[in-house]
C-alpha cells in the first residue's frame, strides 16, 4: 500500500460506486475476499496478475482428490516399517536377554557348586582350627608350667650359687679363724713378750670374729 506504483490511498478511497463496479466485474473474487476497496483498486492496477491466477484454476481443482489415497499408502508403509523394525528390535532384545539369562544361570550354578565346596573346606578348616586352638591352649599351659619350672630352676641355681659363695666365704672365715687362733696360741706360747691386756684384747677380737663366722655358717645351714 505504500508502493508509489500503487494509487494514492486518498484517491483509492474515492466514491464507492467505482468499487461496486469493480466488484461486479470479478464476482468470484468478491465472494472469496469480501469487500476490500483498497484491494480492488490494487487489482485494477495489476490486471496481468489477475489474469495469471485465472489461467490455472483447473490444475488446483484436479489434484485435490489424490492426497487421500497417497497418505493411506504412506501410513501403511510407515506402519510396516515401524512394526518390522520393532519386531526385529524385540527379537534381538529377547535373544540378548535369553543369552544373558543363560549365562547367569550357568554362572550361578557354577558359583553355587564352588560355594558348596568352599563351605565344606571352611567347615573342615574350622574344625581343624578348633582342634589346633585346643592344642595351642594346652601347649600354652605347658609353656607356662615350663616357664615357671625354668624360673624356679634358675632361682634354685642362683640361690645355690649364693649359698655356695656364702659357704666359700664362711669356709674362708673359718680358715681365717683357725689361723688367728693358731696365731693366738703362738702369742700365748711367747706370752712373756706381750702384756696381758694386749693378749686379752687380741683374744677378744679373734673370738668376736670367729663367733661372727660361726653365726654366718649357722644361718646358711638353717636356710
Amino acid at each position: 500500500m505504500t508502493d508509489e506504483s500503487q494509487p494514492d490511498p486518498v484517491v483509492a478511497e474515492g466514491p464507492k460506486p467505482d468499487a461496486v463496479v469493480a466488484e461486479e466485474a470479478q464476482p468470484d473474487a468478491m465472494a472469496a475476499e469480501g469487500p476490500k476497496p483498497d484491494a480492488v483498486v490494487a487489482d485494477e492496477a495489476q490486471p496481468d496478475a489477475m489474469a495469471a491466477d485465472e489461467a490455472q484454476p483447473e490444475a488446483v481443482v484436479a489434484e485435490e482428490p489424490k492426497p487421500a489415497r497417497a497418505s493411506g499408502k504412506k501410513g501403511l508403509v510407515v506402519a510396516l516399517v515401524l512394526v518390522s523394525t520393532l519386531a526385529l528390535a524385540l527379537g534381538a532384545l529377547s535373544a540378548y536377554l535369553w543369552t544373558v539369562h543363560s549365562q547367569y544361570v550357568a554362572q550361578n550354578e557354577a558359583l553355587r557348586a564352588e560355594a558348596g565346596d568352599l563351605g565344606a573346606d571352611v567347615a573342615e578348616s574350622r574344625a581343624k582350627a578348633e582342634e589346633l586352638q585346643t592344642q595351642v591352649d594346652e601347649t600354652l599351659a605347658q609353656l607356662d608350667e615350663a616357664k615357671e619350672t625354668i624360673n624356679g630352676l634358675a632361682n634354685s641355681e642362683a640361690q645355690a650359687g649364693d649359698d655356695r659363695q656364702a659357704l666359700i666365704d664362711v669356709a674362708d672365715g673359718l680358715q681365717e679363724c683357725a689361723d688367728l687362733r693358731q696365731d693366738m696360741i703362738d702369742h700365748l706360747n711367747e706370752a712373756y713378750k706381750w702384756t696381758a691386756s694386749s693378749l686379752r684384747a687380741r683374744e677378744a677380737d679373734i673370738t668376736t670374729y670367729c663367733k661372727k663366722v660361726t653365726r654366718a655358717y649357722k644361718e646358711i645351714v638353717d636356710d
Binding site: V77, V78, L82, E114, L153, Q165
Partner: protein, 247 residues
C-alpha cells in the same frame, strides 16, 4: 511415496535409537567366573618380630639378668638388663666393692663379668661380659616417661625369682639419696632390695628408666632413660670400678 520413505526412515531411526538407548539399561553379561576364591595367606603370627616368645618369657624378662656381687666378706645381689650381647646396665651400688661379679640369665645360665664401670652422676653402672647374655636386648626410649604413665619393672626382688610388677609414674623429683646430679622419677611400682638395677619398661616394651631405690612409703625411684642415654653417649663419664678387697 516420496514423503512416506523419509517418514518411515525417521520412524525406524526412532525405534532404533530407542532400542540402542534401551541397551544401556539392559543387564550386562556376567563377568568371567573367578578362578581363585582363597585369599593370599597373610603373615603368620609366628613371623612377626617379638610376637611370640620361644619359651613363654617376654622380651623384657629375657633381657633381665640377676647380678651377684661377691665382695670381701659379703654377698649382694641386684638386677640388670642387657644392652647388647656382652653389656648390661645395673646400679653402681650393686657392683660397688666387688671382688667378683657373676650374672645369671633368666634361664639359669651363669655368666662371669669381665669389667664394670660406673659414674658419680647417677646410680648407674655398666658391666661387660665375655660370654653372651642372650639374644634379646634393651630398646631404649628416646624420652622419659610422663607423669601418669604405666610402667613395668622386671627384676629379682630379694635375689629370688624373676618377677614383674607394674606401677604408675608419679613424676619428677630430686634424688632422695642426694647422690644423683640430675632429677629422678618416682613411681608406685613395688620393689624390694635386689630389685636395684631393674629395667623399667613402658607399654611398648621400651626401657624408660632404671630402678635404684625405694622409700618407706613404698615408692620406687627411677634413673630416667635420658640420663642413661647421656651416659652411654659420653663414655668418659663412666669410670672403671676397681676390683679387689680393701685391706
Amino acid at each position: 511415496m516420496s514423503k512416506a520413505r523419509p517418514l518411515a526412515f525417521a520412524g525406524a531411526a526412532v525405534v532404533f535409537a530407542v532400542a540402542v538407548a534401551g541397551c544401556g539399561i539392559l543387564p550386562a553379561a556376567p563377568s568371567p567366573d573367578p578362578t581363585d576364591f582363597v585369599p593370599s595367606v597373610s603373615t603368620s603370627p609366628g613371623d612377626l618380630t617379638g610376637a611370640l616368645s620361644p619359651d613363654g618369657f617376654s622380651a623384657a624378662q629375657r633381657m633381665t639378668v640377676r647380678v651377684r656381687n661377691i665382695g670381701c666378706g659379703f654377698l649382694a645381689t641386684g638386677s640388670g638388663f642387657a644392652l647388647d650381647e656382652h653389656t648390661l646396665v645395673t646400679n653402681r651400688h650393686v657392683v660397688e666393692n666387688a671382688k667378683d661379679i657373676e650374672v645369671s640369665t633368666y634361664d639359669g645360665r651363669v655368666v662371669q663379668a669381665t669389667a664394670a664401670s660406673a659414674t658419680t652422676l647417677a646410680d648407674i653402672a655398666i658391666v661387660t661380659t665375655e660370654e653372651s647374655l642372650g639374644t634379646v636386648y634393651a630398646d631404649r626410649a628416646s624420652e622419659d616417661p610422663a607423669e601418669g604413665d604405666v610402667v613395668t619393672v622386671v627384676g629379682y626382688p630379694n635375689g629370688g625369682r624373676l618377677t614383674t610388677t607394674s606401677g604408675v609414674v608419679l613424676g619428677e623429683t630430686t634424688d632422695p639419696l642426694e647422690a644423683a646430679a640430675g632429677p629422678v622419677l618416682a613411681s608406685t611400682a613395688q620393689i624390694e632390695p635386689g630389685s636395684s638395677g631393674s629395667g623399667v619398661f613402658n607399654a611398648s616394651g621400651q626401657v624408660v628408666g632404671v630402678i635404684y631405690a625405694k622409700n618407706k612409703a613404698e615408692q620406687s625411684f627411677i634413673v630416667p632413660i635420658s640420663t642413661l642415654n647421656d651416659l652411654l653417649n659420653e663414655p668418659s663419664l663412666l669410670i672403671p670400678e676397681t676390683e679387689g678387697c680393701k685391706s
